[in-house]
Subunit: 322 residues, 3 copies
Amino acid sequence: MGKNIFFEPKEPFLLSEIFSELKQKNKIKISDVKILQEASGTDLTFLDSIDYADIAKSTKAAYCLTTEKLKNFLPRTCTPVLVENVLFALCKVTKKLYPSADVDTPDKTIKAPKKSSFLKVKFGNNVLIGKKCKIGRNSFIGSNTIIENNVSIGKNCIIGSQVVIRNSIIGNSVIVQDGCKIGLKGFGFIPLKGKNLRFPHIGRVLIGDNAEIGANCTIDRGSINDTIIGKNTFLDNQVHVAHNTKIGNNCMIAGQVGFAGSSNIGDSVSIGGQAGVSGHLKVGNNAKIGGGSGVVKDVRDGAVVMGYPAVPLRDFLRNLKK
Amino acid sequence: MGKNIFFEPKEPFLLSEIFSELKQKNKIKISDVKILQEASGTDLTFLDSIDYADIAKSTKAAYCLTTEKLKNFLPRTCTPVLVENVLFALCKVTKKLYPSADVDTPDKTIKAPKKSSFLKVKFGNNVLIGKKCKIGRNSFIGSNTIIENNVSIGKNCIIGSQVVIRNSIIGNSVIVQDGCKIGLKGFGFIPLKGKNLRFPHIGRVLIGDNAEIGANCTIDRGSINDTIIGKNTFLDNQVHVAHNTKIGNNCMIAGQVGFAGSSNIGDSVSIGGQAGVSGHLKVGNNAKIGGGSGVVKDVRDGAVVMGYPAVPLRDFLRNLKK
Amino acid sequence: MGKNIFFEPKEPFLLSEIFSELKQKNKIKISDVKILQEASGTDLTFLDSIDYADIAKSTKAAYCLTTEKLKNFLPRTCTPVLVENVLFALCKVTKKLYPSADVDTPDKTIKAPKKSSFLKVKFGNNVLIGKKCKIGRNSFIGSNTIIENNVSIGKNCIIGSQVVIRNSIIGNSVIVQDGCKIGLKGFGFIPLKGKNLRFPHIGRVLIGDNAEIGANCTIDRGSINDTIIGKNTFLDNQVHVAHNTKIGNNCMIAGQVGFAGSSNIGDSVSIGGQAGVSGHLKVGNNAKIGGGSGVVKDVRDGAVVMGYPAVPLRDFLRNLKK
């Protein structure tokens, strides 16, 4: 993931500062929060599902928020921090390090771009650009579009009109059609009566070369992790990609498809219109998901599935005949 | 509902002016149109379904558009006005009182906000505000956003960029993400060949404290009644809330969910992505509706439903095994 | 279809210039690309499905891209050009004639409208209009809206705020609500690893008199053909209409409905919320499609269908009882 140019963590702190009930006696000082495979040094990570047990085994994190039941999957080098609700604890820790990443106040530094700072970039009318943005040559930014601070856009891109992009790194030759909202805070919170606790979103949106994003799509940035759209992957209009979703290369995603978050979609996957993919699933390479399907289980490489819930096409057709 | 600050009715008029065929002989003069439980004085109300018979019994309306079949549910103090098509008649009456509420001509009074009128409010670039808007302190209005006349926004709110809000009353600490369109005329009309008769929409959108509305959502204002989003209720991206829908407090509505209008959703309800809720239904408190479900019947308190059409989760799972 | 005011073809050229493998010996020079029923003179057309065999019989095209299997449906006056992949070949030919129609670079000619050029037209703030646009009297264009070059809008229209319209011809008394994106390039491409080949879109969007388009809808222009919304047809919010879809007159399309493209919807059709219509289908006049349905087969005149996949309502209800 490299250095996070969008969010800077506050000073390292002792976990006991926010978890007074903590059973551990050692004085844990946390400098950052990362996912299992990216944590190291004095980072805290988290493990809240057996699905990630394999990855947990080789984490280099110093500490891990987890439960009594899952703690044995961690290597000896990683100190388990036992809590009742992993996500709630993670939310508290992340908020302590990144206190303003839980809501998206629009960037106050945006203003009309200085032509001298963006050589060979063309701008429509009333474009607003934040501090430290990078835009490659021969790219075009449409009218009324807002690019917030630190966003990076490659060369030969076409960004449409009335678009908002924040916390995102966009490759070369990418097309983003009118009205898209990319890199906004995802839909993550701990439900509480009266005032939900919002989960900070310190991840980014990464869009690969030659990708295309249709009109009025929404692509949320990741919470701890990134949201990724692979190279040469095309999204039709009104697609919703929730936080932490990873879509591979050469995929074809038709109109109004929705991804519930944290799923991992392989390469060369095609998904028909209005289909939905639940959270935390794995869809294999070359899979085909029929229009209107509701995918609630992993899909294997090359599988063709359809239905609600989605089943192999053969089974779907057989069920119809009953 | 209180005084409607967005629409002012024309002069009271005799029903016989628009219903020459009216069987009643008494000279009825109508000053306003309201729903059964809010009508009083010289108001006209309407009753077009037996589902509202209980509420009808205690209406304080002077007059009620209804049918031969339903008229006996009205109290003696309320004069029934018998018509063949209640909604068509209601549309005619409402149009007479509110001739310009059937289409949304964008507010012509909007202009750059005077800083002196909005103390401690922060504005992005190119914000446009209509006459008599109120915005509470520490609220932020994003760039290119349009707030039309008389809209009220509480304190500590964050309204994103490229948003449009009209005919709405928004509480404190509410977040509205980029691209939302709130308070527009709903999808209501009497189908006619050649030129449909549009139903006037004189209702509002009311959004409670601490609510959050995701990117590119659309929330239509009510027709006669209001559309309501309760306190601490969170909507993910691309949700569509049609006219007169009421959503309770502490609800969790995932991405791309749609409400067809006039349904009543309880408190602490959670709805999965892409689910749809038909019109005129009641969903009980603490109900859970699975992603992709199509709800076509009332859902009881605490029920867990799934499927298309949605059934209790147990039945849904059993049907899968067949 | 008449003259295409949005795209001008390049010089006529020999098919052998792009198809070196071409078996035909005659020197074919192509001046334009049109659908079967609109081609004539030196136009090239295409036939890639037996569904269009009847129309093919009377085409006046000089040449037709097709396959060995389908060539016999063409009249003697039309020279078949045999290829393995009709759409791939069509894409190449169209790209040669219209090299810049495969991506939508926002119109660089847009600027604030001169009041003198648009008599009796009202404009909100920050409206941007391209060259040679026509707007009828008493029409209103909302704030931050972009109307690109050559677009034509009739009289008495209300175009909302934050709308983008390009490559479209809009009738009289049409309402387009806030946030719509109309006339953008559709989702058409030949999938290739590394860099998909985008299909040029030289069609338009045609919207009939008295139509209404809800907030945040997306209506893509046609590829070779036009996308058409009939007179007095109403679309609710967040509807997606893909390229080449034809919707008849007096239709009622509820929120979040999606059309996958190239389907032909009759007159007076009503479609419930979140329903989807697959590509290349025919839906008859007066058909009713239930909310949430997935239509994957033709629907006859007056049929009432529901379900996923959609079946006659009677069958849908019977299946529920099993």
